[in-house]
Symmetry: C2
Subunit: 343 residues, 2 copies
DNA sequence: GTCTTTTTTGTTATCGGTAACAGTCGCTCG
DNA sequence: CGAGCGACTGTTACCGATAACAAAAAAGAC
């Protein structure tokens, strides 16, 4: 009970020293003899002394908080990115505070405002498309900012990610190479997931170059299994019937794959399926998804390292674009005969 | 540039009032005329004034931080629980700070120590089994504590969750009712996921009552799809061959289901499969998993509401145990003939 | 029109630490 | 043997707000 009220002053009095000595001793800062440091450390532990981060951070005008904003945690992708960051950050003595913006730039902007009030050690945003106010605010603040998951032409500060349009393009070329000529993109309504739109655009560009038109199918739902299932069911009814479906991501692709299985459409015999991310669900599927493999954990780890460096005043590279190789699975195939566009 | 240094004093000077008036005006607290409040608000916005939470929280001896510890975010289950909490908490003006303990009580305990330094508004822990030190520390602090996901006989403070042993028991009875007599539990090594162990124990108890012995199969891997796949492959080689597999959770169960499909074992014709959680992946599977449906989002929401009440000094119920109904899917069936134990 | 009340505004002390500077003390060095 | 130096330890002045109380101004009461 007396524990909860022990403050640095009490420890100082008990040890017969000034509070500065206690402060120095407990922080592991130079300027105290080992003898007194030991005495103080023991005493502090005995008294159950808990230093106040609030006071400490206030005095030092900066905290050890790293604020991270992700669209959602339901998606394993962001969980993995955050997971990749955490280890490095925790190791560096940084605390992480997480926000889910639900793909809403306004929410993200509001969060930025709130976070700045905490004098964070750094801010991490997902993507590079922010509400106008947020970017301005971030550029002028002295806080290190990391933009993750996407690549910006002129990042606010630090930037680690992948070129989504390029990933889409490469997948497009890959599918073209497999002779697909009637592709359909299946995603959620325009503007919700901007990175997905970039991939779609890349895919479209690749196909367009070969004179092939990409059709669009939007399902108004959360970007998960069910949306993919729904999208696939609708796509199968399209006339002319598509020969390949490019899903927003692996979750949707999996839902689509299951839908095909349910209604008895052979994959890749009758139709091809491609996703995005290379989730680990792929490791157990009887038929691996064709997908682009994103380096999620590595991305997080790299970003965290850069941040720690930046926080410590060391400036490293500012912008890292990571490759997103296409992984050819068993849900697409070049062996099809009926692949000429029937349009 | 001057923006980043504007402090309450500057706003006060600019508005020609004392800093207390500014403080009151901006916090929406009583004690300022609407006229001056309006003037101050505008001025503060113009000057880009950002109040310091560090200073504010220090002065008020409490912050608006709610610290949440979950084993992992990779598991959609915890993402959903946290998601359920967030909305309510954010709405109440509370910030959430998340830790992943990776199922390690020592890490959780260390985190508790670190978090207390922030004078959080509340602490949320997953499960009810903590390192001895942590519990003590938490009981004596004046901070509201919520234990989530599991039910404790004597919670530290607040407690919302499900009875895992009961969930296991009910599944056991359900499987018994379907005439299964040679069950195998597939999980990760003992002691890693304590809730899973309780479910297993419940299942075992139910079967034991009918004179049936439960066999154990442990896969030393992360509790995900792959572990289930691996476990199922091993289980299929057991002699006598099991007639039903109870997986640690739906992730593993799905991996197991896929493994069976891959090697051509008919489910539920040759073997039954049951999981735990009722994940949404179930909504797209051609063959729905038999599972126990956990109220994850509701659990989070309920917990958040109780916490907000507690933080505001209102005491509500302290302990809520939620039901976990068995959902009979298409991966188990009573129609089997070869279900007599061959042991 | 004077005396209360009530509302609005300001003052002072404090929250729990840390930075920067100022002593102290014991030794080494010339 | 006193100056000079390095290793400790202490003092003072904040960090940027809020609580509690005090004072001044406005609104009512009679």
């Amino acid at each position: 009970m007396s524990e909860s009220i022990a403050k640095i002053e009490d420890v100082a009095r008990a040890a017969g020293v000034s509070i500065m000595s206690v402060s120095r001793a407990l922080r592991g800062v130079e300027g105290v003899s080992e003898a007194t440091r030991a005495r103080i450390t023991v005493l502090a532990a005995e008294m159950g002394y808990v230093p106040s981060r609030l006071a400490g951070s206030l005095a030092q005008a900066t905290s050890n908080l790293v604020a991270i904003s992700v669209p959602t945690l339901f998606d394993a992708v962001f969980a993995e990115i955050v997971g990749g960051m955490r280890e490095t950050l925790t190791h560096a003595g940084l605390e992480t505070i997480i926000e889910t913006s639900d793909y809403d730039p306004a929410r993200e902007a509001a969060w930025v405002e709130r976070m700045i009030e905490w004098s964070p050690a750094a801010l991490v945003l997902s993507g590079v498309d922010h509400a106008p106010g947020a970017s301005t605010r971030l550029r002028e603040g002295g806080v290190p900012v990391m933009q993750l998951w996407d690549i910006a032409p002129d990042p606010i500060d630090l930037n680690v990610g992948i070129e989504h349009s390029l990933a889409g393009e490469e997948m497009g070329r890959h599918l073209l190479g497999l002779s697909y000529r009637s592709p359909v993109y299946i995603g959620i309504p325009r503007g919700r997931d901007l990175r997905a739109e970039k991939r779609r655009a890349g895919l479209e560009a690749a196909f367009q170059e070969a004179g092939v038109t990409l059709r669009d199918l939007r399902v108004d739902a959360a970007p998960s299994f069910e949306a993919g299932r729904e999208g696939a069911l609708q796509a199968l009814k399209l006339v002319p019937r598509p020969d390949v479906l490019y899903f927003l991501n692996d979750h949707l692709a999996f839902g689509g794959l299951m839908a095909c299985e349910t209604v008895g459409v052979d994959v890749p015999g009758e139709i091809g399926i491609a996703g995005f991310n290379g989730l680990n669900i792929n490791n157990v599927l009887p038929r691996r998804l064709t997908t682009s493999v994103t380096p999620r954990s590595l991305m997080g780890k790299t970003a965290a390292r850069m941040l720690v460096a930046a926080i410590r005043g060391v400036r490293t590279e500012r912008r890292i674009s990571m490759p997103v190789p296409v992984e050819s699975g068993a849900t697409t195939s070049a062996a099809l005969t009926a692949k000429a566009p029937r349009a």
